[in-house]
């Protein structure tokens, strides 16, 4: 069980992060100001802190100095997007930096990466007979290594990290190919086709009409 502390004074944002992280199986606690966050850090052991910089009472820059000796990874969440702010945040010992507005897929991905770096979560994800090793960048099915291109692997990782979420074509495209989705592209479809064929996941990665694809983890359990 992974405990995450969300220190964010905007309730709307705080709840948004909480709902999404809870859906991904994390346990979340929310602090709405710096003082509350410090108190909660003292009483409970957390695996990760999502920290807003502009917090009332004690701001994020101050708070991270308090968190650092505890060896808890910190991801900054803030509207400040200037490079100097990023550098300052990272220099103070933050593991990562997310600027508002952010997409939930991005937040989840960053949380996963940081947790894995800190060995809080296993790098090995198992879905039925398929095993994804995020450290070794390898995929095996029934113990047999499946060869995949880099893009196919990243796409697969995105699906398995967001189970039950309808991933939109533009999101997938942006996350994997790194640029905006431009009109009608068969690239994404052909990649998904190949993943389905290699893993025999025709009914697991399902097409969502007019949206994109969804990794239907529930169906995997039925098999």
């Amino acid at each position: 069980m992974i405990n995450i502390l969300i220190a964010e004074d905007e309730r709307a944002i705080s709840d948004l992060i909480r709902i999404n992280l809870v859906r991904n199986g994390y346990v979340c606690h929310c602090a709405y100001d710096g003082k509350q966050a410090a108190d909660m850090l003292e009483s409970t052991r957390y695996d990760l802190v999502l920290l807003d910089i502009m917090l009332p009472c004690i701001d994020g820059y101050e708070l991270i100095n308090y968190i650092r000796p505890m060896d808890i990874p910190v991801i900054f969440i803030t509207a400040k997007s200037e490079l100097s702010d990023k550098v300052k945040g990272l220099r103070l010992g933050a593991e990562d930096y997310i600027t508002k507005p952010f997409e939930i897929v991005e937040l989840i991905a960053r949380v996963e990466v940081v947790l894995r770096r800190y060995k809080k979560t296993s790098a090995i994800l198992t879905f039925g007979d398929v095993t994804v090793d995020a450290d070794a960048h390898s995929v095996t099915k029934n113990g047999r290594l499946i060869s995949m291109t880099a893009k196919e692997y990243e796409l697969l990782l995105l699906f398995v990290r967001n189970p039950g979420i309808a991933l939109f074509r533009e999101t997938l495209f942006e996350r994997v190919w790194g640029y905006d989705y431009i009109g009608e592209s068969r690239t994404l479809d052909s990649h998904v086709q190949r993943i389905r064929r290699k893993l025999d996941w025709d009914d697991i990665i399902i097409t969502v009409y007019k949206v994109g694809y969804k990794f239907d983890v529930a169906k995997l359990k039925d098999r």
Partner: protein
Amino acid sequence: MKKYVIACCIFINIFMLIFCAVLSSEFDRQLDEIQQNMHLKAVDENKLCLASAELFCKRMLEQYNTTPTVSQYNAFGEGRFTVMYSTELDCDLPQNNECISNYIEDTDEMLTISELDNNRYLVTVMKCGLLEQKILLKERFITISIGAFAFWAVLWSAFGLVIFLHQRKLAKAMAQVADGNYQVRIKGEFSSEFNSMTESVSNNVVAANEAARAQRDFVSNFSHELKTPLTAIIGYADLLRSAELDSQDTFTAASYIFSEGKRLEALSLKLMDMIVLDNHEFPLRPLPASKLLQHIAITVRPMLSDNQLDLEFHAAAARIEGERDLLITLIVNLLDNARKASEDGGKIVLRGTVEGDRYKISIKDFGRGIPQEELSRITEAFYMVDKSRARAQHGAGLGLALCQKIAIMHGSGLEFNSTLGEGTEVSFTVKKLPKTKEVIEDVKKES
């Protein structure tokens, strides 16, 4: 300071010139006097001269074994004697227009013998002391002149050096200013001009920096105010479209989208107000002050009674100049701020008083007060003293910025007087118009 030095130098120079002139004329005068004295001596004291001539003759007899025949006395300090040639004269006599000088130590006299014609010689006696005095006077004159000139030259070069050093200092200071250090101040000549220049440059730069900072803060605050609701709206909408949520989460997501959307709307409306205020001219019209304040008091009472707040209201009757709707917006905003700062069951005072040719409107609450260090910044756009509380009350931090703009339009600005824990008084003034019959009637009616 340097002005005095220059004046001093010029004065000293003029003094030196006058001194030299006086000195030379004085020397001339002294020389004249010496000669005149001799002259007078020769004329007035014939006997003495004769006596000395006799003495001279005696001495000539002793020295040269001859007696000269005194033939002539000179009026110019020299005794002149014509000496008849004598073969017994056992000294060298000048020949071929030569001239022989002998110094007689006893009497400190110079004897000059020159051939006049055959067997006749001219002997000239001159008091050496006078000669020395003459030479001494001349030498002293030269020494003093050279000394004065040297002093003058040293003074001028020192002055030049001072000016040169000063100019170097000035140039260095200017270079520093060019490098962007506007705090440079110098001492000495031109200091007031230079310092006032750097002062004004520095003030301008500070003002420009301040404006740039305000602009930067505005943009950064604006983007923060914009990004937070946008993140929420995009995030919840994304959640709704991507995942199958239970009814509780669906409701939460939809409510947040609604409330954050409302927040954006409020923000955009306030921004629009500010832009309109910046870009439009609002004509100021005569208004009855007490009626306006009374109208406002009646309007806000229900809002205040929600918090069991009591509104105390005093307004002096006067005719003021202003834009009615904007003034209402301003006062209602300030009253709303007072309400937010007050504890439930407290009191707010709205007061209108005449102050000379201005009409002062003040709003006083007895709430939590504003920290002193925040007072100067609270009228900046997006500035919030207590962020989380402002958020909870749906503030965007634009209210006071808007109020300040309206107050400035009416020829004043918001003035804050606040003590932590005791309350805040905000006031501003508008122009008061001279009383007319109408107003006097109004006052009568009201009383």
